[in-house]
């Protein structure tokens, strides 16, 4: 196979990679938060994204709401659902061995997907709202991807500012740095867990809303996002929140780069090969575990 790489192709790869990378970073930040604060890997993270996409689809198809204006609604719905799941189920496994929390969230994931199939059927749904591309010189970028990037960048920046500067954000970071100390310092750790889980679910929901305009919506659309988010936090260093940004961008770029050389199916596999390699060679992530 002979591939001629032109500068225009590189530009296309970089731009597309950074656009999708931002979306990955936002969704993965949710997974990283839950892992950092509760030491739980939430397999149900992707299915929560799927539910967010359905919120957008129904508001769009039933009431004709601009899908981007459904962001607050899908985030709010999943924030509440996330807190409900935490309070009824997930809190029980916070101190249990990892296997318990993996199995529980795996079970929640299966339940959410099957309930969605029951309630919404497996039909492919689409939100045909924004189509076409912006063409700048040799680079073409689809409009919904640009818009998704913009919203994801804003939401991610807001999430980091929240973690960095607010009292609650600092309490969340303190809890993830040392739960015991947070407790004896008077931080209600149970409440922090509750809010973190809801917050993470809302980030997943935002991802669901933004990709609802890009891809087909169906109950099984979410699982791949669990794995991609996991890959992102492994790349960036689990438990390290800025690492989610780095990992997201890397995943976006790698996927785009792979698509230059490989068929679509093969380039999907690249991410997983990479996951195995990183876990083997540098399990603390590119940035190396926790860092500021």
């Amino acid at each position: 196979m002979n591939v001629v790489i032109t500068p225009a192709m590189i530009a296309q790869v970089v731009i597309s990679g950074l656009l999708s990378g931002t979306l990955y970073a936002m969704v993965a930040l949710g997974l990283a938060l839950i892992f950092g604060v509760m030491r739980v890997i939430n397999i149900a993270h992707g299915p929560m994204l799927m539910l967010g996409a359905y919120v957008t689809f129904f508001l769009y198809s039933a009431f004709g709401v601009n899908p981007y204006l459904t962001l607050p609604a899908s985030m709010a719905v999943l924030f509440v659902l996330g807190m409900l799941l935490e309070r009824t189920l997930v809190f029980r496994v916070v101190d249990a061995p990892e296997l318990s929390s993996l199995l529980l969230t795996f079970g929640i994931s299966i339940a959410l997907v099957n309930l969605a199939q029951l309630a919404f059927t497996s039909d492919l749904r689409a939100v045909e709202f924004l189509t076409g591309s912006f063409v700048i010189g040799p680079v073409a970028v689809s409009k919904p991807r640009i818009v998704a990037f913009a919203f994801a960048a804003i939401i991610t920046a807001a999430a980091f500012l929240f973690l960095r500067n607010t009292k609650l954000g600092k309490a969340i970071r303190a809890t993830s740095q040392s739960r015991d100390v947070a407790m004896v310092c008077g931080i209600n750790v149970g409440r922090i867990h509750l809010i973190t889980f809801g917050f993470a679910a809302a980030l997943a929901a935002a991802g669901g809303t933004l990709i609802a305009v890009i891809v087909a919506i169906q109950p099984e659309m979410g699982q791949i996002w669990t794995f991609k988010s996991f890959l992102v936090i492994v790349l960036g260093g689990a438990g390290n929140y800025p690492g989610a940004l780095v990992g997201g961008m890397l995943l976006g770029l790698i996927e785009q780069l792979a698509s230059l050389f490989l068929t679509t199916q093969l380039s999907e596999a690249v991410a997983y090969v990479l996951l195995v390699l990183v876990l083997l060679i540098r399990p603390t992530g590119i940035l190396g575990g926790r860092s500021t």
């Binding site: 600092k170 309490a171 303190a174 015991d180 100390v181 004896v184 310092c185 008077g186 750790v189």
Partner: protein
Amino acid sequence: MTAALELDAVKKSFGGVTAVNGVSLRLEPGRIYGLIGPNGSGKTTLFNCITGVERRDAGRIFFQGERIDGLKPWQIAVKGVGRTFQVTRVFPELSALENLLVVTRGDRAAAERRGRELLAFVKLEQLAGEYAGNLSYGQQKLVEFVRVLMRDPSLVLLDEPAAGVNRTLLNDLLEAVRRLRDEGRTVLLVEHDMKVVMGLCEVVFVLDHGDKIAEGPPGIIQADERVIEAYFGR
């Protein structure tokens, strides 16, 4: 007078190992108490039971006459029990000042003023913005110590406050502990440095294998045969 802290036959075991075996003790307000004993005698476990980090198996714990065993650690902290850890624990990725602010509620400006005062009190005001993880061990210890004071606790539990602190800082630290007492707070400290214990504490409790084997003024404790035996063997 209501005791600052009262333990009534508190027991805690891990598997088959009894760490605290029915310990009762009473702390009067505004005094400095010491808790000593050989390694593994149950001192830290007792701290953990008082602060709710470990759930006691039996017995009752009263703070200012109010039963606190069974409360969550954060609830006990909010009531006014502060503690430090044997191996110092700060939030490494928060700044020194943020370490103090994260434990407070209410007025942010007032909390920040208080936080800066406390950092100045231990001569760390220059390092307020530095990540706590980048400070030296002794400095982290001081951050942890003043973090306890942010909530204005009436009972302060210090787990080996002197370990790893240099001599100059140590005198400041001891002075600070005395000042806590003078402000009417009650202090209970675990310490291996006998000079610190003898110089600071008014009453000393001695634990051995989870039992309280002696209690009294430091001078008398030092001469107590059971204590000598627990430390040095017969």
